[in-house]
């Protein structure tokens, strides 16, 4: 893909039609979220289509990370957090009692806003998921690790130092390591929270190419502050503002013909 701005998935493309007809890979239904008394998400309803890239955009603090982390239930760890409403992944409620969190989180991979590699070797970082989930026999691990590192555009830089600690990498390399770690787990949905915020333009472009490639098989949700990036790679874009979902539409429509004046104000840079 070239580095120029390109609007993905014009209305009427296969992904859009599929979304309009069928159910989304992720169905967010009347979802409200509180950190203690702080009501940060208000009645969010959205359907994230399968095998497409969906971008969450919006000003800082509007709840993008919170919404993303609600999908694989990472917010369970936060004391005093609570929610109402529901989120379904592949037709199954993730908040239903008896949900297998291990299975959910294996299928829904996540890359966090801040890189968080383990203080283990680069190899062991990427092999972490396959090992704990028993995804492949030990002798296939090296191939799997290499594949994930290649996908994350990190292989060339680390192929000679796989046994050095992952924490010795630069910030941008650490973020790609975290992407590789998530990919090695063979997820079906990939949630990425500003994965490119610490990357240079070349690494960013590589990751974008990767995501566009991956959407053939995976459902991808990406939080980004980079509107060009959303316009370039996302098939759909959701605009959140103060915890409310203002607009959710095919990216082409949202960026060229926003329906809500607040969306228009945001994408034209008048606030946020």
């Amino acid at each position: 893909m070239s580095g120029t701005v390109r609007l993905a998935a014009p209305a009427g493309s296969p992904e859009v039609r599929q979304a309009e007809s069928g159910k989304g890979a992720i169905e967010i239904q009347g979802f409200d979220f509180w950190y203690g008394r702080n009501h940060v998400l208000h009645d969010i309803t959205a359907s994230v289509p399968p095998r497409a890239i969906t971008a969450f955009i919006g000003p800082s603090g509007c709840g993008k990370s919170t919404l993303l982390r609600s999908i694989n239930r990472m917010n369970d760890l936060v004391p005093d957090a609570r929610h109402t409403g529901d989120i379904e992944v592949f037709g199954r409620s993730v908040y239903a009692p008896g949900t297998d969190l291990v299975e959910l989180r294996r299928r829904v991979g996540m890359v966090f806003q801040r890189p968080n590699p383990f203080p283990k070797s680069i190899f062991d970082n990427v092999a972490y998921g396959p090992r704990i989930n028993g995804l492949c026999p030990a002798n296939e691990l090296p191939a799997r690790v290499e594949k994930a590192l290649r996908q994350a555009a990190l292989w060339e830089e680390v192929r000679d130092r796989l046994h050095q600690p992952g924490t010795s990498l630069s910030g941008g390399q650490q973020q790609r390591l975290c992407i590789a770690r998530a990919l090695a787990n063979d997820p079906e949905i990939l949630l990425l929270d500003e994965p490119c915020s610490a990357l240079d333009p070349i690494a960013t472009q590589r990751i974008e190419e990767l995501l566009v490639e991956l959407k053939e098989q995976y459902t991808i949700v990406i939080v980004t502050h980079n509107l060009q990036q959303a316009a370039r790679i996302a098939d759909y874009t959701a605009f959140l503002y103060l915890g409310t979902l203002i607009e959710f539409a095919p990216s082409h429509d949202l960026f060229t013909r926003p329906r809500d004046p607040r969306t228009e104000a945001y994408i034209t840079g008048r606030f946020g």
Partner: protein
Amino acid sequence: MARYRRTRSVALGDRVFHAALWICAASIPLLLLAIVLELAVTAWPAITRFGWGFLVSTAWDPVTDTYGALPMIVGTAVSSLLALLIAVPLALGVAIFLTEFAPLWMREPIARLVELLAAIPSVVYGLWGIFVLIPLLREYAVPLLQRAFGWTPLFAGTFYGNSMLAAGIILAIMILPYISAVAREVLLAVPNDQREAALAMGATRWEAVWTAVLPYGKAGLMGAVVLGLGRALGETMAVTMVIGNRHEIGLSLLQPGYTMAAAIANEFAEAVTELHLAALFEIGLILFAITVAVNAAARLLVWRVARASAAGSRAL
């Protein structure tokens, strides 16, 4: 630059204050040095008389004035290691439970309660050992141990009460609060994003603890253990009360033994000859060297972790 000139009185006060601080800071190492010198000077007759042989001889006879420290050195090592063997799993279990699994409301109260164990005076532990622990051991634990492991030399012989086993258990209870408090601080200092990274990959809570949290805090946890060891090595009163105070090296944990600290405390008042006194001082010197080395190692380990996070510095 005239505007920045200080008045003379301020400069003087400054200098006095500066000097006072220097004296305070310098007095600590000087005090340490003084202790070492004092120990070495008083121990000198024993050092010249027995040489390195002091460390490996088992003789301890005030009548013929021959002394060897091996039984005490071995006793200190065995009782401390036994204490670690019992206390480390418990203390780490407590720390892991309190940082990772316990409901939030009970974490602080229980942590304080465990730390309260450290506030109980040593002599009270000793009394408890004599009147509660030893009878319990005699009635229940030792018969069971002997039935299961009586064939090993570790649990052979008759149990009279005062023993290495009783000392090890008492020591374990005494060092448990130290190890668990430091281990808890270390685990608290492990960044939450490490837990999140593991859980987001599909780890269970336990797997996250085993594969992410504990490895991250490994050095600090080792520091906690070594800190516990340092305390066990020097603990005197409670051990003296339950270990039996016999200058012998026995394989059996059911037999009485001796530790360096207990020997010093016990025999000091009765030391009549200069050489007896010197031998006790030399034991003090050895104990001092060992505990300083162990504590330095512990600080180093904990410090290495604490450096990485501000929260961890509280662990010191």
